[in-house]
């Protein structure tokens, strides 16, 4: 009996240690975010030390006086939206195509998909920079966009490929056998069946693009930089707290957006479940008649 007790006690203390360790890990992830948010309320011209509480920076931010910050954000958002649209389109087509078809050089392309994911970003950025400079492409939004798509497309392809299973192919065959053409099958069967994959590919592409520093830094023209590149250059002189305020607004918006999407999904699932239950009831009463 004694040993039984001690084993249980040991198990419990083990679990406690596990919880404690997890809390510590999460602390490591959340401390920088908390500090970043706290310093958006710092009453100082530039963020080095805490000098008192103020909410002025949010007022200043939304008076749009700091045009550098807003221009950079707008530039980043435009690039991220375009990169998402291009990457998801090519990624969805590519994910389906690479899963379905066999062709000469497919193995090579499959391998190439993993290169931008694994190779250090600086290497790819520099390689593209040399090509652009050599053939005389003007650096700017276009080159940054190409750079971002080059690492977003592989993530989109991998995400989509993971979502396609044998079921999808059976469904496609069924759709074609029932007389739908390729386009109808693609839009009405294939796309809806991989919609969750498309959504997560889009989300991933957007977040990767908007947070990117390396490609944006190396492939940018002289005129306009993205928000992360602006922050990188601000770091030399000290970051102004309105940058913290803007980042805080962005993370709050993102988390709220995610909660809204989650809530919507849960609501839809509940509704579907209710409808299914009603349908079942209707069928059983109809059957009993």
């Amino acid at each position: 009996m004694e040993s039984h007790h001690s084993i249980r006690r040991r198990k419990r203390s083990f679990r406690f240690l596990g919880d404690l360790y997890a809390i510590l890990m999460y602390a490591v992830f959340y401390i920088p975010v908390a500090v970043m948010i706290a310093f958006s309320f710092n009453d100082a011209q530039r963020n080095y030390y805490w000098q008192g509480f103020t909410t002025d920076w949010y007022g200043k931010l939304f008076s749009f006086a700091n045009t550098d910050l807003w221009d950079a954000l707008l530039y980043s958002v435009i690039i991220a939206v375009l990169a998402t649209i291009i990457s998801v389109t090519i990624g969805v087509l590519g994910g389906i195509g690479l899963k379905k078809f066999r062709f000469v050089g497919k193995k090579f392309i499959d391998m190439m998909i993993y290169v931008p994911i694994i190779v250090p970003e600086i290497v790819l950025a520099v390689a593209m920079l040399i090509i652009f400079m050599t053939i005389g492409v003007k650096l700017g939004m276009g080159t940054i966009l190409i750079g971002h798509c080059t690492f977003c497309i592989p993530y989109a392809v991998v995400t989509i490929k993971g979502r396609i299973s044998g079921d999808n192919e059976t469904l496609q065959e069924a759709s074609m056998d029932l007389g739908a053409n390729r386009f109808q099958t693609f839009w009405k069967v294939t796309v809806p069946s991989i919609m969750p994959g498309i959504m997560s590919a889009a989300f991933l592409s957007f977040t990767l693009s908007i947070d990117d520093v390396v490609m944006s830094n190396m492939l940018a023209g002289a005129r306009q930089s993205t928000l992360p590149v602006l922050i990188l250059s601000l770091n030399r002189t000290g970051i102004t707290p309105d940058a913290n305020a803007l980042t805080t607004v962005m993370i709050v918006a993102l988390v709220l957006g995610m909660l809204a999407v989650n809530g919507l999904q849960r609501h839809r699932r509940k509704k579907e479940a209710r409808l299914a239950a009603e349908a079942e009831k209707a069928i059983s009463t109809a059957g009993g008649r």
Binding site: M25, I90, V123, V126
Partner: protein
């Protein structure tokens, strides 16, 4: 009454869907990945132009330069930092991944989400936050002074130490996620079988858990070691230009210094290391199974 079975329409075998679906991605990868990487290998064997740029004349000067003391030291230092980062990420990440993987599925997916959320915050702003915490008269120093653990403020910022903190905290999720998914796939019955057969927990871990989750561990190694080796933003933000890694040297060759062949040679070095690690990985696992997300 039965309908007459319609003859199944024979679908014309066309190349169009193949071209439309696999075409764009293939073209993009060849144009913007294969060709630039081949070209950078070519450039690394060329001569540095007098006013920057490249003269198309074969030379191995760039590779010889890498062996110069100054550059070699940077390479060695980057390697050491990347190795330490990877080891710390594995050691800190594995128990964490194990902890999450043993939770019920819905709790686990929420815990994973909780790891992702902080990483939606701009990475440079998060790095800057570490800087603010460890400033010479900042909160950490004040706390240590108040506790009496140090007598005078310490210079944490612009040190290799703070860069390491930045590296580990930024790479950790990329170690946790692949290890989590391989631990999660581990059949509980195997562990029970091992225990039933009389193995102590430590032995079960060493003989069953660890070998079976090795693909996840190796994914974690690749996803932390290679980025850590090429990173320059963390050293820029936390090292204040005093801490230089390979990534910084490459970047500088395309900025102020304008020695393209040298930057290209360093890039080729990183490419080779990447290729080597991937080659080892493919010896015991398929690249498609690597958990990159």
């Amino acid at each position: 009454m039965t309908a007459k079975p319609q003859p199944v329409r024979k679908r014309k075998h066309s190349r169009l869907p193949l071209l439309a679906q696999a075409g764009p991605v293939s073209a993009w990868m060849i144009l913007f990945v294969t060709i630039p990487l081949l070209y950078i290998i070519y450039i690394s064997f060329m001569t540095r132009g007098t006013f920057g740029g490249v003269e198309h004349e074969f030379s191995i000067t760039s590779y010889q330069t890498l062996l110069d003391v100054t550059y070699f030291k940077v390479i060695e230092k980057s390697f050491r930092a990347a190795v330490i980062t990877t080891l710390l990420c594995l050691l800190l990440g594995y128990p964490f991944a194990y902890y999450i993987a043993r939770k019920p599925a819905d709790v686990a997916s929420r815990l994973i989400m909780l790891i992702m959320i902080p990483f939606w915050t701009n990475s440079l702003m998060r790095l800057n936050a570490w800087m603010l915490l460890f400033q010479t008269n900042g909160p950490v120093n004040n706390l240590l002074l108040a506790l009496g653990w140090i007598d005078a403020p310490k210079m944490f910022i612009y040190s290799d130490w703070l860069v390491m903190l930045g590296l580990v905290t930024n790479m950790l999720p990329f170690a946790v996620l692949p290890m989590y998914s391989s631990i999660e796939k581990l059949k509980k019955s195997l562990l029970e079988a091992s225990a039933d057969l009389g193995a102590r927990p430590a032995k079960t871990f060493m003989r069953v858990t660890l070998p079976l989750t090795f693909p996840g561990i190796f994914s974690a190694i690749i996803l932390t070691f290679i980025p850590a080796l090429g990173i320059y933003t963390i050293t820029d933000m936390l090292g204040g230009g005093k801490v230089l890694y390979i990534g910084n040297i490459i970047k500088n060759q395309f900025g102020a210094i304008r020695n393209w062949p040298l930057g290209a040679a360093l890039s080729v070095l990183l490419l080779l290391i990447t290729a080597l690690l991937i080659f080892i990985y493919t010896r015991f696992a398929r690249i498609e199974d690597m958990e990159v997300l």
